[in-house]
């Protein structure tokens, strides 16, 4: 039995794999080997014993293989390495995207408008709260991808500034 995934750790790819069966398992994080004794709790959590210390953990799979893990009362997001698709460049390129699934309430700019970083370009509403989306860079609006009234998914492009 085995399990394996490539994560992005501190900007670097990190392979994590696990093998074994029953109570005795082995996990390889990069090239570091950990012997783990496993006990499953009836509520779905697992107790790991590593070097004589016990840790309570639970983990679920999110989109594209990323894992959300909770261990000893701390939650961590472990982003999967999906090859090629680096994240985090949206601001620098002037893409204003929806922070969450909701509705575009207002688009305050039109194609051709000049905007300055910090200007409100759109307002998105979700769960009865309004969120003001601002330009991260100075530039010209080259695309308005969603109009007021449209539903938007988290991460959807609303306005592009160049």
């Amino acid at each position: 039995m085995s399990w394996s995934r490539d994560f992005v750790h501190d900007g670097e790819a990190l392979r994590v794999s696990a093998s074994g069966s029953g109570a005795e398992r082995e996990v390889l994080v990069g090239d570091r080997r950990h012997a783990v004794r496993v006990v499953a709790l009836p509520d779905g959590r697992v107790v790991l014993t590593i070097d004589g210390r016990q840790h309570v953990a639970s983990a679920v799979r999110l989109d594209r293989g990323s894992v959300q893990v909770r261990v000893d009362g701390h939650t961590w997001m472990l982003p999967a390495h999906t090859g090629g698709r680096g994240g985090g460049s949206i601001d620098a390129t002037g893409e204003v995207t929806a922070p969450m699934t909701g509705t575009v309430l207002e688009v305050a700019v039109a194609i051709g408008d000049r905007v300055t970083a910090g200007d409100t370009v759109a307002v998105v509403t979700a769960m009865k709260m309004e969120h003001r989306l601002t330009a991260q860079i100075d530039g010209e609006v080259v695309e308005v991808a969603l109009a007021a009234g449209s539903n938007c998914d988290a991460g959807a492009l609303i306005v592009r500034i160049e």
Partner: protein
């Protein structure tokens, strides 16, 4: 307790009808909490639900459930006619509104009573006298309760701006209706006033169907302290003391407690007396909350009355030993407080702390999160109470408030309550979406929080509590992730990528309540 049979306000006709079946016009944790109390009282319960809530927990824990159709609140839980039709269909004799939605809607209270049903809450008239912040200020003035300098909205933005200028910036604009900080904006400078007012009006209209706003001087620095009151249909009212609710983000409470670490017995008594005067002046019946700002000198200023059960009511229940939902029902039946509280010592006992578990991203300005909760484990233990509206598999929708559950602890001292809360939070699992659980844990372990140094800007002064650790995940996180995913006990069994015969009870041998791996296959 005070009695005022000869008072100037005419109270609603006392009802003597026994309530046997109650429809709860709400969802989530509060519906579940009310159902629990009803069941304990031997009262049948009816749930209503929107299409988006067809699989929701609250729908399944009532004795019967009736669909309202629609997805959004406006299409379902705010539909007065549909809710009353559901009550009639189920032969309910009373409606409990919970909090939010229609709970502070006078037209709803009246429509319920006009339909021959009991509204478990105040009369429409009393609600109007207190439910709008604007009207409540007038009642407070009459009752001799100090208010924050402020001004009323006549629907004219320019006029309100002129008045805001007179009060002096910074000011707060907020929805006159409702609560929960919806529509509220802090406006530091005149230039931002109209935009804030416009956004506030829109939020208020969407949340409460009323865009009337209120503009108030910002009392600062201050603590948010509120008094829980009970008032019956016979003119009696009693204070159940204060709750401290200063720890807020986006004007919404995050942690609440009773008693307040900052309120002396003398201040408690003065605030309690003022609150009792105020609700009696309004002819109010039901549980209710009178909210105040308390400044550094211990002066208190009336903010608003919440004419309903409050989200944070459990902390009062734990320190007084009362069931506020049961008392609401008995008051609605016409019972008097003399009878209900006879022989009760209402002095607060020990310390209670509540943490609101939200689906949100504290690291990104507390943006709400939505999605499927893939694994939920809620803590148990002495002095630990969880009022929850979710379970493993629950969908958290964008249509409703992102509060998932409330974790409430009770301990002999405040310090012990903080430790109990930290441990209970660590034991909690809400995985599948982002939540504020780790954030809450950081707050209750913060030295200033533990020392009781609370102000309404507590979280603003400590942005590091929201942003959390910036270190990359530790090695242990990867090891735990690999094992937990391989075992996939949450998913209910071995998956094609998983690692063996785990999640079935038969695969374990039970030892002392824990299931331990057996040696089979």
């Amino acid at each position: 307790m005070e009695s005022d049979p000869g008072g100037s306000v005419s109270f609603s006709r006392p009802m003597s009808r026994r309530i046997e079946r109650v429809l709860v016009a709400n969802r989530g944790e509060i519906a579940v909490r009310i159902f629990r109390s009803l069941a304990e009282q031997g009262i049948e319960s009816i749930a209503v639900y929107s299409d988006a809530d067809a699989d929701a927990v609250h729908r399944n824990v009532a004795d019967r459930s009736i669909g309202l159709g629609g997805s959004t609140a406006a299409e379902s839980y705010l539909q007065i006619e549909k809710i009353i039709a559901a009550a009639n269909e189920a032969n309910a004799c009373a409606i409990h509104p919970g909090y939010g939605f229609l709970s502070e809607n006078a037209a709803f209270s009246r429509a319920v009573e006009d339909a021959g049903l009991v509204f478990i809450g105040p009369s429409g008239d009393a609600m109007e006298r207190l439910g709008s912040k604007q009207a409540a200020r007038i009642v407070a003035d009459r009752a001799g309760v100090p208010t924050v300098p402020g001004c009323e909205d006549q629907g004219d933005d320019a006029a309100l701006l002129a008045k805001a200028r007179e009060i002096g910036f910074p000011v707060l604009v907020k929805a006159s209706a409702g609560g929960g900080g919806k529509g509220m904006r802090l406006v530091d400078a005149e230039a931002d006033f109209l935009a804030a007012l416009k956004a506030g009006r829109r939020e208020a209209q969407a949340a409460f169907g009323d865009s009337t706003m209120l503009c108030e001087k910002r009392v600062f620095p201050a603590r948010h302290v509120e008094i829980q009151v009970l008032a019956d249909a016979h003119g009696n009212a009693v204070s159940l003391h204060e709750r401290e609710c200063s720890v807020q983000r986006r004007h919404q409470k995050v942690l609440e407690e009773a008693p307040s670490p900052c309120v002396s017995p003398e201040l408690r008594e003065r605030m309690g007396e003022a609150s009792v005067r105020l609700v009696r002046e309004a002819g109010y019946r039901n549980a209710g909350t009178v909210e105040y700002l308390v400044d550094e000198d211990g002066s208190f200023y009336f903010l608003e009355v919440n004419t309903r059960l409050q989200v944070e009511h459990p902390v009062t229940e734990l320190v007084t030993g009362l069931d506020l939902v049961a008392l609401q029902v008995r008051i609605a039946e016409g019972a008097s407080l003399d009878e209900l509280l006879a022989g009760r010592d209402l002095t607060p006992r020990g310390h209670a702390l509540e943490a609101r578990i939200y689906a949100e991203v504290p690291e990104q300005g507390f943006l709400p999160a939505a999605g499927r909760l893939q694994h939920v484990v809620e803590p148990v233990g002495p002095g630990v109470r969880v009022d929850s509206g979710v379970a493993t598999g629950s969908e958290v929708s964008v249509h409703f408030d992102p509060m998932l559950a409330k974790l409430i602890v009770h301990a002999p001292s405040r310090e012990a309550a903080c430790r109990r809360m930290a441990h209970a939070l660590r034991e909690s699992v809400y995985l599948g979406i982002s939540t504020n659980v780790d954030f809450l844990c950081r707050v209750v372990e913060d030295p200033d929080f533990v020392a009781g140094r609370l102000r309404t800007d507590f979280l603003d002064l400590k942005p590091e509590l929201a942003s959390g650790p910036t270190d990359p995940p530790p090695e242990l996180a990867y090891v735990a992730a690999a094992i937990a995913r391989m075992v996939d006990a949450v998913g209910g069994g071995a998956t094609s990528t998983g690692g063996g015969p785990v999640a079935r009870p038969s695969a374990f041998q039970s030892i002392g309540g824990l299931r331990v791996w057996g040696g089979e296959s």
